[in-house]
Structure formats: structure tokens, C-alpha cells
Homo-oligomer: 215 residues x 4
């Protein structure tokens, strides 16, 4: 049975992906923050030491709190550098992806259109997007696809924390609604189920026509 590891798979988008991969017969391991906290490198090292091999890896983590630039402390930069960047690097350095597999990365629309309130997330997710792009090339030879999904506003607990009046806010969006985690889960499932491999090294903005850039 094929194996998938979904980091941050206990809620939100990660949970939806875990659930959709289960529905097509994958043996899905999810980690919650209690089991693997990428902001804590000793947790990461402990996790990767068992030499895991997977067919699908989903790199996903909650975002840092909204903070103004001037108020961000050295400790906070360090912590979220671990959480959003270094932890993922260490995981990719250690976990083996089987030939023909997939690595999905869940970032955010802020990688292309940075957001002042989400400056930490904008910065470190961009950094990891860069690493991810580079790795897509070397893994391509083993027929492993690297797909970076950059969601806009999705209906998760996280979004509810960030936006005060969501009912009102939704009306300002092109589709008059937030995206649903299930849409992303289904998207991932579709790629895998149909063995679509040539989609690799790319960012899939998933934002309900809300971005400003043409490409």
C-alpha cells in the first residue's frame, strides 16, 4: 500500500488533503503539532531519525501570528525560520521520496503578493518556495513531482483568527466566498489519482481569482 505523510495534517488544509488521499487508498500518516513541531528542531530531528520512506509528502504548517515588522523579536524570527523553512529543509534532507512520488508544499498567496501583517510568513514561505523550485529539478529525474500550492483565503480556523468579520469580508472577494479546504484536498487527490506528473516545479495559486498579477 502506498504511503503518504501529511505534516500538519490534523486540521485545516492538511486534514483535507490527508482525508482525500485516504479516500483513494493511501496509507496516510498525519502529524499534528504535538507529534512534529517544525518550529522546534529537536522535534524535527527526532521525527526524521527513523529513516522514513514515503510515496507522497505534504509539507504543510500553520502560519505565524500577524505581527508588525518593528515588533518582531530575534526569537520570533528564529522560531518561524525553523517552522516555515529550516524544519522543512531538514525533513527533505532526510526523508526518502520513492520514485514516481509527489511532494506537495502548501504555502500562501503572500509568496507572490507579500502582506504587511503576515511579513514573517511572506518572507520564509518565499524562501522555502525557492528551495522547493530548485529541488523540483533534481527530483524530476526520479519522476517525482514537486507542486507548490499557494492558497489565498481558505475557510480554516487560521483565517478566522486573522479576519475579524468574515461574513462581511467575503463579499469583497471575487467569488464572494473563501475557498474550501476540500477543494485543495480534491485537487491534490486528482493529481495523484490521475498520475499527472508533468506538473512540477510550479506554483499553483489557489485564490479564487483574487490575485493582481497576470503571471
Amino acid at each position: 500500500m502506498n504511503k503518504a505523510l501529511v505534516i500538519g495534517g490534523s486540521r485545516g488544509i492538511g486534514k483535507a488533503i490527508a482525508s482525500s488521499l485516504s479516500s483513494i487508498g493511501y496509507d496516510v500518516i498525519t502529524t499534528s503539532k504535538q507529534e512534529l513541531d517544525t518550529s522546534d528542531l529537536s522535534s524535527v530531528k527526532n521525527f526524521v531519525k527513523n529513516n522514513m520512506e514515503v510515496d507522497i509528502l505534504v509539507l504543510n504548517t500553520g502560519g505565524p501570528p500577524a505581527k508588525e515588522f518593528l515588533s518582531i523579536s530575534e526569537e520570533e524570527w528564529m522560531k518561524y525560520h525553523n517552522q516555515l523553512f529550516l524544519g522543512f529543509c531538514m525533513i527533505l534532507q532526510k526523508i526518502k521520496i520513492n520514485d514516481g512520488g509527489y511532494v506537495f508544499l502548501i504555502t500562501s498567496s503572500v509568496i507572490k503578493e507579500p502582506n504587511p501583517r503576515l511579513i514573517i510568513s511572506s518572507a520564509y514561505r518565499s524562501a522555502f518556495a525557492s528551495v522547493f523550485k530548485i529541488l523540483s529539478r533534481s527530483y524530476a529525474e526520479k519522476n517525482i513531482s514537486f507542486i507548490n500550492i499557494a492558497p489565498g483565503l481558505i475557510n480554516t480556523d487560521r483565517t478566522k483568527e486573522l479576519i475579524d468579520n468574515i461574513e462581511e469580508y467575503q463579499k469583497s472577494l471575487p467569488m464572494k466566498r473563501l475557498g474550501e479546504p476540500k477543494e485543495i484536498g480534491d485537487f491534490v487527490k486528482s493529481i495523484v489519482e490521475n498520475k499527472i506528473k508533468y506538473l512540477s516545479g510550479v506554483v499553483i495559486s489557489f485564490d479564487g481569482a483574487n490575485s493582481n498579477f497576470v503571471f
Copy 2:
């Protein structure tokens, strides 16, 4: 029964999409160049006058020949302006997309990384990508998703015309192969079948990790 119109659906990527939409129960109308030649505006006007309504529209057309900038004549600019840009505009001005529907546009990786040999294609496909982006916003209110798929090198007759020694050429690609039309057909099918709607207003580069830009 839901209706799909696939322009340029008689071969290559268009044919693969038509076939995949048929497989999930769509009533698919395809047009070959003989039935609808977007480089000929009278053909376009004739085609759109029957007030068609569709659930899915796939805007797809073959590319112009490889030509050096200095050798392109006024007539050629005009012809391919019609084929790759104006014909599609006139179709979108006239054909009704039903609420909850989809419009897929097949462009090319040259919209982001222009190619000297494909200068006509690079230019006019970029132009239409811009129109397409703008329209994604207004159609979003009707829950219609606009998805621009930008393929890299796909295994079609077109690619065989453009590249001399494909066997050799493939070895230079990250995945050591061209993409298959079926991968794009399956991708389109998956989006539709799973009713993924929040993917809109975006370009999906479909190039086997071959592009240079990070996003």
C-alpha cells in the same frame, strides 16, 4: 447533459481534453480548423452567430510557424493576431458560459519565458493571457472559473515540427521526456469532475520542472 466546447479539439492537447471530458459524461463539441478557423474572423463570426451556451469552453489553437522577427510580414502579424487573440476575444464576447462553468485556455510556457523562434506566439498568447486574467474577475461572481494552462513541451505533432531530433532533445529535459497530452486532459477532467472552483485567474505552468522562474 452538460455541454463542453473544445476549440481546436481535433488533435493534440485539444483532442485529449475533449476525450477526457467525454469520459465523465460531457456532451463535447469539438471544432477542427476546418470548422472554426480563429485566424479568419469571418469563420469566427459565422461560428458565434448561433448563440451557443456551454458549461465548459476550452480555448485552444495551434501555434504559428517559427519565424525570425525581421521576416514577419504585416499579413502574418494580422493573421496570428486573429488566431491567437482576436478570435478568442470575439468568442468570449458572444458565447454564453453557464453559471458554475469553466473556461480553460491553453497557452504556452512562452508567455512567461518568451522564445525567439516563437515570437508571434509569445506575444499574442501573452496578450490574451492578460484579457483572460481580467475576465476571471468578472466571471467569478457567476462561479465560473478561468484557468490558463501553459504547457511546456508536449508530445504533439506541433512539437515534432518544431524540434528536429526529439529523442535527443528529451534527454535535456528535467524529466527526460515530453509531457503527454493525456496529462493535460486528465488535469482538466479532474478539476471539472471534483468541482474545484477556487482555482481561477491563474496560470498553471505545465512543463515538467523545466521553467527557470520561481513564480
Copy 3:
């Protein structure tokens, strides 16, 4: 004496560039719309037939009117295709740029962030930006730099036509003001005066920190 040709040099940004190039000793020829109307191909053909040679070419033209997509006629598409794209192509096919020279293109921030009201401009300026990028490569061997300047809201008659209450509008901009044509004129002058050649094949967004994309 070195020669510069500034198309659309009778007002706005073109005039500011013409004036700044004069100030550093260039023999500047400007064309107004009466002398060279790029929307009229016979005007373009007439203009280019004298086999002009220049050291600096500035491709600049006014924008089309704000129009909704559905209301744009075939004739309008054609006219602005000439004005914003084909006329410039024909000029570049015929006018010789001397070795070590410059070609400046004045586009708009809408090439990266298309604007629904300026859909014609967004589309055709994008198309020409693609041609311009491609040509930057071939001209590089002759030490000719191609620089695409993409202004945001600049204090010109054009902007006053497009925006109702400019006083109020300016307050919404990051710098609380429009850009000045002179800033772009000075920018062009500086590049030329300092013989900066390695800046080529790039888009210089000139928008007072108003764009959303990171790059």
C-alpha cells in the same frame, strides 16, 4: 551629434524624456500623433521609409480609452493592436539602432497587474513587452540595451482623463502623490549619461511602491 527619436514626444512622459535627452546634448527628434500615428499603419510605413538611424529610440504612445470588454468592437481591437503593438514592431523592423545605443519602451504597470478598465492597453502592451524582451537578447551583441519602463500613475493629461478626483485619489497611493514625468525623463537621462548598458531585457516598474507583486 548623437541622435534620439522619441515617438509620442510632444507631451507627457515622452516630452519629459525628449527634454532630458536634449539637456545632455542629444539631437532629439520627437513625433507627435500628427506626424506619426502608430494606430495608422500607412503613417508608420511612410515614417520608416526614410531609413532612419538613431542612437536612442523611445517607443511611447498614448493609451486607448477605458472600455469594457463586451463593448470593444473589432475595429477598436484592430486600431489599438496597430497603435500599441504592430506599429512598434514595424518601426523596430525598419529603423536602425546604432551599436552601443538604447531602446526605451514606455509601457504601464498594467502589463503585470492588468486593469479591467484598461483591458486593451493591458493586452497589447503585454504583447509588445514580450517582443521587446526577445529582441533585447539579439541586440545585446551590438551592445544595445532594451529597457522597458512600466509607469504606474504619472501626472499626465492621460491620467487626469482616467481618474475623476485626482486630489482625493492621490491620498490612496503609498507616496500620496502621482509620479512626475520628469522623474522618468531623468531616469532615462541617467542611464544614457552614465553609459549604463548592463540594464537590459528588464522591466522597470515605476510606480511609487504601489504594485502588489514582490517581483
Copy 4:
């Protein structure tokens, strides 16, 4: 007398900028790695504690060594995170930029087109480009321009370390040569000298027409 601080100003591009700013009358303070090592946070903290105020700040630093992803250690990630990202954040949190001033950031073409050999640089420079973009908005109100210059291959000691046979390599570049540090120095000088302020929040690729993306 106006004051400029050029970090990493003892050689290469930093030195050229320092020299060009001196030539137009700025009181230029440069720091070498011995005086301010952004990879060492105690060095940064020591440096910023004197509450410096400047009119122009140039954020510039050497790049990390070329390393394969799998061989990068935790300590190396941490060190270069400091050098290319966190040190600069701490400097911007503490040093006051006078109203009407400038902040220049020297990054690299790898922020848009990541390079496998320069994966550390690609990642952390991208991250800081994101912070820089966000800050350009808030500083705009004080008429302070933020300009990110992303050089391609420039004729510096660094480039000589990275490329084996530069003579041969240059022939593969569109301009058949590396860029000169002086071109970037002159570019910075021109912006400042002409008080061009509306150029802000943007990336200036400075790569001799060598990039692949259109924008």
C-alpha cells in the same frame, strides 16, 4: 552633509556604490566584514546600538559558498540566515532612515531564477526581498524609496570564485561580458543625484539581458 552607510562597502559592488556616492558629495561610511559581519548577530547588535541616522542605506553582503542541498548543515543554514536575512532585518529595525532618503538592497538574479549551486543565497535573498517589498510601502509615506537591485553576473571577486573559466563563460552571455560594478554604482548615483523617488518597491534586474522571464 548627507550621510550614506554602505554595508559590505569594502569591495565589489558595495565599494563601487560607496565610491559613486562619495563622488556626489555624500559622507559615506562603509563597513567591511571585519567591522560589521551580518552573519554574526552580536556584531549586528553592537553596530546598531549607536542609533545611527542616515540618508542612504545600502544593504549589501557577500554570498555564501556554493553548496549542494544535501550537504548544507544546520549551522550553515543558521549562519546564512543571519547574514542574508536576519542581520538586515535587525539593521532596518534600528537604523533611522531620514525622510526623503533611500534604501538600496543588493540581491541577485537568483531571487527570480533560483540557482541550484546557490540554493542558500536563492532562498534567503528571496526572503529578504519580500520583507523589503513590504517595508517599501510603509516608508513611502516618508518619501523614502526602497530599491532592490538584482545583479546577474558582475565582474567581482565573488564571481571569479564561482566560475572557473570566466573568459570562456562570458561568450555565452548575451552581451559577451560580465557587468561592471561601476555600472551599478553609477545607477545608484543617478537615482540619488536626480532625486528620482517614484522608483520604489521594485526589483531592478541588472543582468545584461540574461534572464528568461518576461517580467
